[in-house]
Assembly symmetry: C2
Homo-oligomer: 302 residues x 2
């Protein structure tokens, strides 16, 4: 997928309206339960997060010209609490939206309007004018995911986002296994191949722990952060560590797999994975960061 | 509903088998996501927790003679993390079950066997021989429920068991409102009427708080505990307090409602409510407690 071209106005849009003129880039912060979605990316005939979101946006903005660009293109069944996206809205479309709504301040009106249209497994928390140079996909300095496992009493109330594992996991061994994976590596062994996509990534954080307080108390949780992730990378890393936690593999094994470059691990189930946070640089660095990330990833696969 | 009669053996059961002899009372500890259930109690043509559980038990025990008695008969949509039930299993049936399973120690084998049959929204955590005098329904000294409300950023991942409330709640006012409700009262104003059912209950605890740590951090949570509850009592109490939290009612209003004996409150939605824990007295007091509770509640409605 190539970077989005600048939208060419005038263009025929929703209900035959013609738009022209400048666009306003809007940043959306959103969350979703991925259970009932075939992932983020639009796919014909399938229910996807982008599909549902774009449909609601088309109704609210009264134009179907808007394309949504996302920070983390989550797979089917993967959740998000801190997803970020952007869309370029023709300025007159945004002006008309604000004019239709008494007291609305800029794109924030989208939050309320989308809430009425979106199903209850997607929530747009915030909508604001993006700072200059902002690109939801290419500006991030990192994405952080959490993978949640329950290896004790199964709680049916959290089963949509926690993997149940039969038998206690050796979390110390799992934590030990992650050390050599940190830093800049070719993660080909932990990526589903995509033609022309680089598999060189910087893994910034990979912590396995068993929190005794907080929302995940009692679970086994991995916090995984990288500049960007290859396709299925987090779930492949988690799969390797689960083998260690089950004592089927030595703690040195995940690093051996990395070095081998050969895919040998099981991909952990999607439903334990949640995109928790996307970190952007200070506003002044947004454009430079986007240029740098685009250059590094000819066919990006974050 | 009258107390269960002693099971009369021999009786024709599952697959035409005839059982006779003594029974073993088994205590089950279980949890469920109430979203897809029409409550606990079996109802023809509806999916209920007891219905699903009894069907699985009939398969495992190879008898459909077993009736399940529960501590808290939750309504449609209400969840449970700490539900307790008992069943009286003919001793030969239990013996045969254990004999079919190498290494099984008593009724604990039920946990593993039920796990293979039950849908993923019900989990039986424990099964053990109940101490003498134990009655899941009449022996408890208290039941504790939690009601969870989110009045800030909606999290789609927890929407099955957290009520979303638009607008910040005044939790201090809600907490203030509960004081006069504690203790022994006639809760008729907070109960859906049931013929001949007493509405006199002892409310042991009713705390509204906004935890800043733990699994409910950021939510508004009510912990509600009583010797037993009338039908819809927790949700009616919660509904009254929500009016206070929204500043539509004064903190003294819930107590005025109680004194009036007239039902005037909205019943809060079921999905925010979870049965968290059932407390039983020391083993020596189980039988006495059951006798006492039975006498007090001619037509019990816990």
């Amino acid at each position: 997928m190539t970077p989005l071209p600048a939208l060419a106005w005038p263009t025929l849009g929703y209900r035959g309206l013609v738009h022209s003129g400048p666009t306003v880039r809007v940043r959306l912060d959103l969350a979703y339960d991925g259970t009932q979605f075939s992932g983020w990316a639009p796919q014909p005939g399938l229910r996807t997060v982008a599909g549902v979101l774009c449909e609601a946006l088309a109704t609210v903005l009264r134009t179907d010209l808007v394309r949504v660009v996302v920070a983390g293109r989550t797979d089917a069944g993967v959740h998000a609490r801190g997803q970020v996206a952007h869309l370029d809205v023709p300025a007159p479309v945004l002006d008309a939206l604000v004019a239709r709504d008494d007291g609305a301040v800029g794109p924030a009106v989208l939050v309320r309007k989308l809430a009425r249209l979106l199903p209850d497994d997607v929530v747009v928390h915030d909508a604001q004018v993006a700072p200059p140079g902002f690109d939801a996909r290419f500006s991030p300095v990192s994405r952080r995911y959490a993978y949640r496992v329950c290896d004790t009493r199964r709680d049916p109330l959290t089963r949509a986002f926690v993997l149940h594992h039969r038998g206690l996991l050796d979390v110390d061994a799992m934590a030990e296994a992650t050390g050599p994976l940190l830093g800049l590596h070719d993660f080909a062994a932990y990526a589903k191949p995509r033609p022309e996509a680089t598999t060189i990534r910087t893994l910034l954080r990979f912590d396995w722990h068993r929190p005794d307080a907080g929302p995940d108390a009692g679970l086994v949780v991995a916090d995984v952060e990288a500049d960007a992730f290859c396709h299925c990378m987090v779930r492949s890393l988690v799969g390797a560590c689960l083998s260690v936690g089950e004592s089927r593999r030595d703690p040195t094994w995940p690093a051996q797999v990395l070095a081998s470059g050969q895919r040998t691990c099981t991909v952990a189930p999607a439903h334990g994975l949640t995109l928790e946070h996307v970190t952007y640089p200070p506003d002044a660095d947004l454009a430079a960061r986007a240029t740098q990330a685009r250059a590094r990833r000819d066919v990006p696969s974050d």
